[in-house]
Structures are given as structure tokens and as C-alpha cells.
């Protein structure tokens, strides 16, 4: 039985394994915080690119789209070099802390939120354009309206960002260091247990992670459906 990953996953969850809960909590904190920061920066950025016409706009869109595919380990390396004591932001002393992991995940998630919200807002703008023109609205005024009316689509975008953040391992491993009790999250634990040859435990942790992501998605779906029905 101990060699069955589902059994391991279940017993981890049911026995309230304290280190596991700490790891799960940190994974959630880091990824949710990163997605929140990325949303605060990324949604207005995406909407701005959708609304304004400026030189090099095509280039910005291509770069944002391309950065959606930024390999996590590259993001990790860049953030590592920035936060290293020998790097430009070394004085912050953030390397090998949860803060560094948040920054690395923001770098990964921001392009996804900006690029996808740019697309959604642009679609919505086409729909609303005549109305906006008849109201004589400025672009800056359009932005909150468009973002609010695109909120259900943006919720899905947010989930895509959260998925990217909670699933990646290369960046958090490099800038967090997988320190037990400090920067160890679900994905880095899975790498560690695999390295120990503890494959059932590694897979068990994987199942726990998947269950968690599933719950968050289900929660977001329900919230979305509920408010959609209320607002009609």
C-alpha cells in the first residue's frame, strides 16, 4: 500500500501532515500573491495596449505574446542575477526568500495576464465603440468600463496565470533554493522527493497539487457562475 501514490496522497491529506500543510500554504501564498501583483500591473497594461494607438504597438503585442512562452528557468536566472548580492538589487537581501519567488512568478505571469487581457479588451472595444463615441468618452474613462465588463473572461485569464505560477518549478527552485520550511513549495518538494528515489511520495505530492489546483478552479468557476447569474 505504501507504494501506491494515491494511497500516499490520501494519507498525507488525512493525517494532516504538518510539513505538507506548511508547503501547501506557502505554495498558495506565493502564487496567489504573484498573480495578484501581476493582475494589478498586467490588466491595466493589457487594456492600455488595446485602447491606445502608438508607435511600436505591434512590437509590444508581439513581445507580450512571445513572453507568454518565457521558460521559467530563464525567468529564474534573470531574477537570480538581479537579486544576487553581486547584482543590482542585492541590497534588498531577497534571494532565497519567498519574496524572490513572488517576483520570479510575477515575471512569468505578467505577460500572460497582459497579453490575454489585451485581446479580450480589444474584442470588447469593437463591440462598444459606437456607444463610447456617442457618449464622447475618453480612452482613460473607457479602461475601467471595459475591464469590468470583461471580468468573467478575465477570471479565466487569472486562472491561466495562477496555473502557470503554481505549476512551474525552474524559477522558484533557482531563486528560492528549496529551503525546508522557508522556500519549499509543492513543485520543488516533488523534485526533491524524486531525487531521493521516493517516487510514490513524489507522485502523491503531485496528486495533492493537482487536487488543489482543481479546487481553486472549481471555486473560481462557481464564483463566476454565481455572479453571472446575479448580474444577468
Amino acid at each position: 500500500m505504501e507504494n501506491n501514490a494515491f494511497y500516499v496522497a490520501l494519507s498525507l491529506l488525512l493525517n494532516f501532515d504538518a510539513p505538507l500543510y506548511q508547503i501547501v500554504a506557502l505554495s498558495l501564498q506565493v502564487s496567489l500573491f504573484a498573480v495578484l501583483i501581476a493582475a494589478v500591473l498586467g490588466f491595466p497594461l493589457g487594456a492600455a495596449v488595446a485602447l491606445w494607438r502608438f508607435r511600436g504597438r505591434g512590437g509590444v503585442i508581439v513581445v507580450l505574446n512571445a513572453l507568454m512562452g518565457l521558460p521559467p528557468v530563464v525567468a529564474g536566472l534573470v531574477v537570480y542575477l538581479l537579486l544576487s548580492r553581486a547584482g543590482p538589487l542585492g541590497e534588498w537581501g531577497l534571494l532565497f526568500t519567498p519574496g524572490a519567488m513572488v517576483i520570479a512568478q510575477v515575471v512569468l505571469v505578467l505577460p500572460i495576464l497582459a497579453a490575454l487581457s489585451r485581446q479580450k479588451v480589444e474584442e470588447m472595444l469593437d463591440e462598444y465603440r459606437d456607444q463610447f463615441v456617442s457618449l464622447g468618452m475618453s480612452r482613460a474613462r473607457m479602461m475601467p468600463t471595459l475591464l469590468w465588463d470583461a471580468r468573467f473572461a478575465l477570471l479565466t485569464v487569472l486562472l491561466a496565470g495562477f496555473g502557470r505560477a503554481s505549476a512551474e518549478v525552474g524559477a522558484v527552485m533557482m531563486v528560492g533554493g528549496n529551503i525546508a520550511g522557508v522556500t519549499r513549495v509543492m513543485t520543488t518538494s516533488i523534485v526533491l522527493e524524486t531525487g531521493k528515489g521516493n517516487l510514490p511520495l513524489a507522485l502523491g505530492l503531485g496528486i495533492v497539487l493537482l487536487t488543489l489546483v482543481m479546487l481553486i478552479n472549481a471555486g473560481a468557476y462557481l464564483v463566476g457562475e454565481f455572479s453571472r447569474r446575479r448580474t444577468g
Binding site: Q29, V30, L32, S84, A86, L95, F96, P98, L192, K196
Partner: protein, 268 residues
């Protein structure tokens, strides 16, 4: 939307707590995957904390990367296993002091049927030569770790430049390399601690060990105060001194997996 907002706010608040909860004394130690994967730190760090109140945050990487982390000033202390590299590190001024802490040995692992017949070898050089002659698959760390550096020295002492299809450089940590070797029935050199603690051996067995050339010494380094004045040198010195103290040495000797001692203290 309120629910999500609350959840996010809860996340933010608790992250703030997570930051402040660790305001106590701690040092960051750059060390090797072999010490971490074997479980040594889980065993000795609580004893050090009980003695001094200092938390040690271990970043476990290959020895090459550990040197790089320390060179950049991203760790307060260093515990690695590449004596030649450690001495160079001191000579180059990145570390002010080095002390031998403990040792174990490297072992040669391979498929149980032992196609290169290394279990009969009389020396490490002979075993390595037999693997090369049989062109039996060999999984090398290939990551500039202490184990990788030791392996390359052993090939050299056998007079062999390993290359060809049978020699596979994986660029992975010790555990990942053992997993891969198990999957492709390859020979592999491991430190004894990681091997004994490893739980996925499949068809692999310990086939050769015991040559003095496969001695594996671990050393602790105090980093240069001149190069990195901002590091926690006082706390790092307490850690360094504890490792080579009677208590620290005893804690290392007390660490056992399945009743087997994996690290042997030898501080002078």
C-alpha cells in the same frame, strides 16, 4: 467577487506573516545535494538550533554551483566536498578559513548482473577501466558537482578519456542521476550516503567500493569578510565552530539510515 478578494487578502496577510516570522537569527548555507538528499541536515540542524538558537537555511545544489553562490555573496557559509576546489577558494580570497568536517566514500553502483565485472576489480582505476573496455552504459552527473569532479579524477587516474555512446553526461543531481541509471541499467558513481538513503534502486546494486582513491571529504568554509562585509559572519562562525566541535562531530556520527552510519566526523 468578494470571496476571491477575501481569499487573496488572506493570502497577502499570511505572506506578510511568513516574512516576519523568520526575523529570528538564521544563516543561509550553500551545500551539496548529497548531504540534503541523505537526510543529514534534518538530523543535525535541530541539534545545532537547540545549542545556539540559530536556524540554518540550506540551499542544496551541486558543489560547483555552491561555490558560485558563495562567490557572489548569496550564502553566509559553505559546506561542500571538493578539497582541491575548497583550497583554491581560500587561495583566491573568497574564503578566509577551511576545516575538514567529515568524510564518507564514493561507491560504484551498477546493474546486478555486472556486465563489466567490476565487482572483481582490485582498484577503482581497474573498475573504471573495465567499464570503459566493456563500453557498458555509465551515467555521469556531468554537472561540475563534487561527485562529478571526483569521478573525472578517477577516469583520469585510470588513463581513460571517457567518451562515446556508453558515457552519458546527465547534468543532474545525484538522486536524479541514480533514477536515470536505474532506468537504463547503467553504472554510476555515487556518494555512499545518497546511495544508502536512495529508495528507487530497481536493478542496481553496490558493486565496488573501498579504494582509498574514492575517499570523499567534506569541508566547511568561512567566507571572506573583506569581499562580503554584509554577510552574517558571526553566526556563520558559530556554525563552522559547532560542526568541528565535540557536539557537532557527535551529531554527525549519530546520524544513521537503517542503522548504518553515513558520515564519519574527522575534524582536527
Amino acid at each position: 467577487m468578494n470571496k476571491t478578494l477575501n481569499l487573496v487578502l488572506a493570502g497577502v496577510t499570511s505572506l506578510g506573516l511568513a516574512f516576519s516570522a523568520h526575523a529570528e537569527d538564521y544563516i543561509t548555507l550553500a551545500s551539496t545535494t548529497s548531504t540534503e538528499n541523505s537526510g543529514l541536515f534534518d538530523s543535525i540542524l535541530p541539534k545545532f538550533k537547540a545549542d545556539t538558537g540559530i536556524d540554518v537555511r540550506v540551499v542544496a545544489v551541486g558543489t560547483g554551483q555552491a561555490f558560485e553562490i558563495a562567490r557572489r555573496g548569496d550564502a553566509d557559509s559553505l559546506l561542500v566536498h571538493d578539497t582541491a576546489g575548497e583550497k583554491r577558494f581560500v587561495e583566491n580570497g573568497y574564503a578566509s578559513e577551511r576545516a575538514g568536517v567529515m568524510y564518507n566514500d564514493f561507491v560504484l553502483i551498477g546493474p546486478a548482473d555486472d556486465p563489466a565485472n567490476i565487482s572483481e576489480a582490485d582498484s577503482a582505476a581497474e573498475a573504471f577501466a573495465a567499464i570503459a573496455k566493456a563500453e557498458a552504459p555509465f551515467a555521469s552527473r556531468g554537472d561540475d558537482s563534487g561527485t562529478n569532479r571526483a569521478e573525472l579524477r578517477l577516469w583520469k587516474s585510470a588513463g581513460i578519456e571517457p567518451s562515446g555512446d556508453w558515457y552519458r553526461e546527465l547534468g543532474s543531481g545525484m538522486g536524479a542521476t541514480l533514477n536515470t541509471a536505474a532506468a537504463m541499467d547503467a553504472y554510476v558513481m555515487s556518494d555512499r550516503a545518497t546511495w544508502v538513503a536512495f529508495k528507487n534502486p530497481q536493478n542496481l546494486e553496490l558493486l565496488y567500493s573501498g579504494d582509498k582513491a574514492m575517499f570523499n571529504q567534506y569541508g566547511s568554509l568561512l567566507l571572506s569578510e573583506e569581499k562580503h562585509p554584509d554577510l552574517k559572519h558571526d553566526l556563520a562562525r558559530q556554525w563552522h565552530n559547532w560542526l568541528i566541535s565535540k557536539d557537532g562531530q557527535q551529531a554527525i556520527a549519530d546520524f544513521k539510515v537503517d542503522g548504518q552510519q553515513l558520515f564519519f566526523p574527522n575534524a582536527k
